[in-house]
Protein backbone atom coordinates (compact mmCIF):
# COMPACT_ATOMS: atom_id res chain seq x y z
CA UNK A 1 0.00 0.00 0.00
CA UNK A 2 2.68 2.42 1.01
CA UNK A 3 4.58 1.63 -2.12
CA UNK A 4 1.68 2.26 -4.42
CA UNK A 5 1.04 5.64 -2.83
CA UNK A 6 4.69 6.48 -3.14
CA UNK A 7 4.67 5.65 -6.81
CA UNK A 8 1.54 7.67 -7.45
CA UNK A 9 2.81 10.74 -5.65
CA UNK A 10 4.35 12.52 -8.66
CA UNK A 11 1.18 12.01 -10.70
CA UNK A 12 -1.08 13.15 -7.89
CA UNK A 13 0.97 16.26 -7.50
CA UNK A 14 0.67 16.97 -11.17
CA UNK A 15 -3.11 16.64 -11.18
CA UNK A 16 -3.55 18.74 -8.08
CA UNK A 17 -2.30 21.95 -9.61
CA UNK A 18 -4.08 21.59 -12.87
CA UNK A 19 -3.53 24.90 -14.51
CA UNK A 20 -0.75 25.22 -17.00
CA UNK A 21 0.65 28.08 -18.96
CA UNK A 22 -0.04 27.90 -22.67
CA UNK A 23 0.77 29.98 -25.67
CA UNK A 24 -1.21 30.03 -28.89
CA UNK A 25 -0.06 31.62 -32.11
CA UNK A 26 -2.49 31.80 -34.99
CA UNK A 27 -2.47 33.26 -38.48
CA UNK A 28 -5.56 35.06 -39.77
CA UNK A 29 -6.30 35.44 -43.46
CA UNK A 30 -5.14 38.73 -44.99
CA UNK A 31 -8.52 39.33 -46.65
CA UNK A 32 -10.03 40.49 -43.33
CA UNK A 33 -10.38 44.14 -42.42
CA UNK A 34 -8.83 45.51 -39.25
CA UNK A 35 -12.10 45.38 -37.34
CA UNK A 36 -12.71 41.82 -38.40
CA UNK A 37 -9.29 40.71 -37.12
CA UNK A 38 -9.93 42.44 -33.81
CA UNK A 39 -13.27 40.70 -33.59
CA UNK A 40 -11.71 37.31 -34.29
CA UNK A 41 -9.06 37.81 -31.61
CA UNK A 42 -11.67 39.01 -29.15
CA UNK A 43 -13.74 35.92 -29.80
CA UNK A 44 -10.93 33.69 -28.62
CA UNK A 45 -9.92 35.75 -25.62
CA UNK A 46 -13.57 35.82 -24.54
CA UNK A 47 -13.86 32.12 -25.16
CA UNK A 48 -10.85 31.45 -22.97
CA UNK A 49 -12.16 33.67 -20.20
CA UNK A 50 -15.49 31.89 -20.35
CA UNK A 51 -13.72 28.57 -19.91
CA UNK A 52 -12.10 29.83 -16.72
CA UNK A 53 -8.72 30.63 -18.19
CA UNK A 54 -6.87 33.85 -17.47
CA UNK A 55 -5.26 35.60 -20.42
CA UNK A 56 -1.87 36.85 -19.27
CA UNK A 57 -0.58 38.41 -22.42
CA UNK A 58 -1.58 39.30 -25.95
CA UNK A 59 0.49 40.33 -28.90
CA UNK A 60 -0.28 41.47 -32.39
CA UNK A 61 2.55 41.03 -34.88
CA UNK A 62 0.57 42.58 -37.71
CA UNK A 63 0.60 41.59 -41.34
CA UNK A 64 3.61 39.38 -42.01
CA UNK A 65 4.91 37.66 -45.08
CA UNK A 66 4.68 33.86 -44.93
CA UNK A 67 7.69 31.70 -45.70
CA UNK A 68 5.52 29.64 -48.04
CA UNK A 69 1.96 30.12 -49.31
CA UNK A 70 -0.89 28.78 -47.16
CA UNK A 71 -4.30 28.47 -48.84
CA UNK A 72 -2.81 30.37 -51.79
CA UNK A 73 -2.12 33.41 -49.60
CA UNK A 74 1.36 34.78 -49.13
CA UNK A 75 0.69 37.04 -46.12
CA UNK A 76 -1.19 36.76 -42.86
CA UNK A 77 -2.02 38.51 -39.58
CA UNK A 78 -0.08 36.89 -36.76
CA UNK A 79 -1.50 36.91 -33.28
CA UNK A 80 -0.21 35.53 -30.01
CA UNK A 81 -2.25 34.79 -26.89
CA UNK A 82 -0.63 33.66 -23.68
CA UNK A 83 -2.90 32.21 -21.02
CA UNK A 84 -3.15 30.08 -17.94
CA UNK A 85 -5.70 27.30 -18.12
CA UNK A 86 -6.56 23.75 -17.16
CA UNK A 87 -5.54 21.07 -19.63
CA UNK A 88 -9.17 20.26 -20.49
CA UNK A 89 -9.65 23.68 -22.08
CA UNK A 90 -7.15 23.06 -24.85
CA UNK A 91 -8.81 20.47 -27.06
CA UNK A 92 -12.16 22.33 -27.35
CA UNK A 93 -10.20 25.50 -28.09
CA UNK A 94 -8.34 23.72 -30.87
CA UNK A 95 -11.54 22.38 -32.41
CA UNK A 96 -12.87 25.95 -32.41
CA UNK A 97 -9.72 27.11 -34.14
CA UNK A 98 -9.91 24.36 -36.76
CA UNK A 99 -13.52 25.15 -37.57
CA UNK A 100 -12.86 28.86 -37.97
CA UNK A 101 -12.37 29.74 -41.62
CA UNK A 102 -10.63 33.01 -40.80
CA UNK A 103 -7.73 31.13 -39.23
CA UNK A 104 -5.23 29.66 -41.65
CA UNK A 105 -2.81 28.10 -39.18
CA UNK A 106 -2.38 27.85 -35.42
CA UNK A 107 -0.07 26.35 -32.84
CA UNK A 108 -0.65 25.83 -29.13
CA UNK A 109 2.34 25.11 -26.92
CA UNK A 110 2.54 24.37 -23.23
CA UNK A 111 5.16 26.60 -21.68
CA UNK A 112 7.78 25.08 -19.42
CA UNK A 113 9.52 27.14 -16.75
CA UNK A 114 12.29 28.31 -19.05
CA UNK A 115 9.77 29.37 -21.64
CA UNK A 116 7.80 31.36 -19.06
CA UNK A 117 10.95 33.06 -17.83
CA UNK A 118 11.94 33.88 -21.39
CA UNK A 119 8.51 35.31 -22.27
CA UNK A 120 8.42 37.48 -19.15
CA UNK A 121 11.96 38.68 -19.72
CA UNK A 122 11.13 39.65 -23.27
CA UNK A 123 8.03 41.53 -22.18
CA UNK A 124 9.91 43.51 -19.55
CA UNK A 125 12.59 44.34 -22.08
CA UNK A 126 10.09 45.66 -24.62
CA UNK A 127 8.36 47.67 -21.88
CA UNK A 128 11.65 49.29 -20.90
CA UNK A 129 12.46 50.25 -24.47
CA UNK A 130 8.94 51.62 -24.91
CA UNK A 131 9.33 53.81 -21.82
CA UNK A 132 12.79 55.06 -22.69
Amino acid sequence: MMWSLYLCAPFLKRYNNMSNRYETVFILTPVLSEDQTKEAVKKYTDYLKKQGASVTHQENWGLKKLAYPIQKKSTGFYHLIEFEAAAEVISPLETELIRDERIMRFLTVRMDKHHVAFAEGRRNKSKKTANA
Binding site: A67, Y68, I70, Y78
Partner: protein, 86 residues
Amino acid sequence: MADDIRYLTPIQIETKKEKYCWFKKAGIKYVDYKDGDFLLRFVNEQGKLLPRRITGTSVKYQRKVSQAVKRARHLALMPYVTDMLK
Protein backbone atom coordinates in the same frame (compact mmCIF):
# COMPACT_ATOMS: atom_id res chain seq x y z
CA MET B 1 73.21 16.37 -42.03
CA ALA B 2 69.88 15.64 -43.67
CA ASP B 3 67.66 16.26 -40.67
CA ASP B 4 69.13 19.61 -40.05
CA ILE B 5 66.75 21.45 -42.35
CA ARG B 6 65.92 24.96 -41.31
CA TYR B 7 63.08 27.05 -42.60
CA LEU B 8 63.28 30.77 -42.93
CA THR B 9 59.66 31.19 -41.89
CA PRO B 10 57.97 28.92 -39.34
CA ILE B 11 55.72 26.32 -40.92
CA GLN B 12 52.04 27.08 -40.67
CA ILE B 13 50.34 24.20 -38.87
CA GLU B 14 46.60 24.28 -39.08
CA THR B 15 45.05 24.25 -35.64
CA LYS B 16 41.46 23.18 -35.38
CA LYS B 17 39.15 25.83 -34.04
CA GLU B 18 37.43 24.56 -30.94
CA LYS B 19 33.68 24.26 -31.41
CA TYR B 20 31.38 25.11 -28.55
CA CYS B 21 27.74 25.04 -27.71
CA TRP B 22 26.34 28.48 -28.41
CA PHE B 23 23.52 28.13 -25.87
CA LYS B 24 25.70 26.89 -23.04
CA LYS B 25 28.15 29.71 -23.54
CA ALA B 26 25.48 32.41 -23.67
CA GLY B 27 23.47 30.84 -20.83
CA ILE B 28 20.28 30.61 -22.85
CA LYS B 29 17.87 28.02 -21.49
CA TYR B 30 15.04 28.30 -23.97
CA VAL B 31 15.10 28.24 -27.75
CA ASP B 32 12.40 30.47 -29.15
CA TYR B 33 10.46 29.19 -32.16
CA LYS B 34 8.99 32.63 -32.90
CA ASP B 35 12.32 34.10 -33.93
CA GLY B 36 12.89 32.77 -37.44
CA ASP B 37 15.93 34.92 -38.13
CA PHE B 38 17.73 33.54 -35.11
CA LEU B 39 17.02 29.93 -36.05
CA LEU B 40 18.52 30.59 -39.47
CA ARG B 41 21.99 29.96 -38.11
CA PHE B 42 21.17 26.31 -37.35
CA VAL B 43 19.91 25.62 -40.83
CA ASN B 44 21.61 25.22 -44.21
CA GLU B 45 20.84 26.99 -47.47
CA GLN B 46 17.99 24.66 -48.27
CA GLY B 47 16.36 25.17 -44.89
CA LYS B 48 17.51 21.81 -43.54
CA LEU B 49 18.74 21.43 -39.97
CA LEU B 50 22.50 21.41 -39.64
CA PRO B 51 24.05 18.52 -37.72
CA ARG B 52 25.64 18.97 -34.33
CA ARG B 53 28.94 17.95 -35.85
CA ILE B 54 29.00 21.24 -37.73
CA THR B 55 27.33 23.71 -35.38
CA GLY B 56 28.84 22.29 -32.19
CA THR B 57 25.58 22.52 -30.24
CA SER B 58 25.24 20.17 -27.28
CA VAL B 59 22.74 17.30 -27.43
CA LYS B 60 20.36 18.95 -25.00
CA TYR B 61 20.08 22.12 -27.05
CA GLN B 62 20.17 20.42 -30.42
CA ARG B 63 16.93 18.71 -29.45
CA LYS B 64 15.41 22.05 -28.51
CA VAL B 65 16.66 23.68 -31.70
CA SER B 66 15.14 20.96 -33.86
CA GLN B 67 11.82 21.28 -32.02
CA ALA B 68 11.88 25.06 -32.45
CA VAL B 69 12.71 24.86 -36.16
CA LYS B 70 9.86 22.43 -36.74
CA ARG B 71 7.43 24.72 -34.94
CA ALA B 72 8.66 27.72 -36.89
CA ARG B 73 8.11 25.82 -40.13
CA HIS B 74 4.56 24.98 -39.16
CA LEU B 75 3.82 28.66 -38.53
CA ALA B 76 5.37 29.67 -41.86
CA LEU B 77 8.11 31.63 -40.11
CA MET B 78 10.63 29.38 -41.82
CA PRO B 79 10.34 27.48 -45.08
CA TYR B 80 10.12 23.70 -45.30
CA VAL B 81 12.03 23.63 -48.58
CA THR B 82 13.86 26.38 -50.43
CA ASP B 83 17.04 27.29 -52.15
CA MET B 84 19.40 30.18 -51.58
CA LEU B 85 18.07 30.88 -48.10
CA LYS B 86 21.20 32.68 -46.97
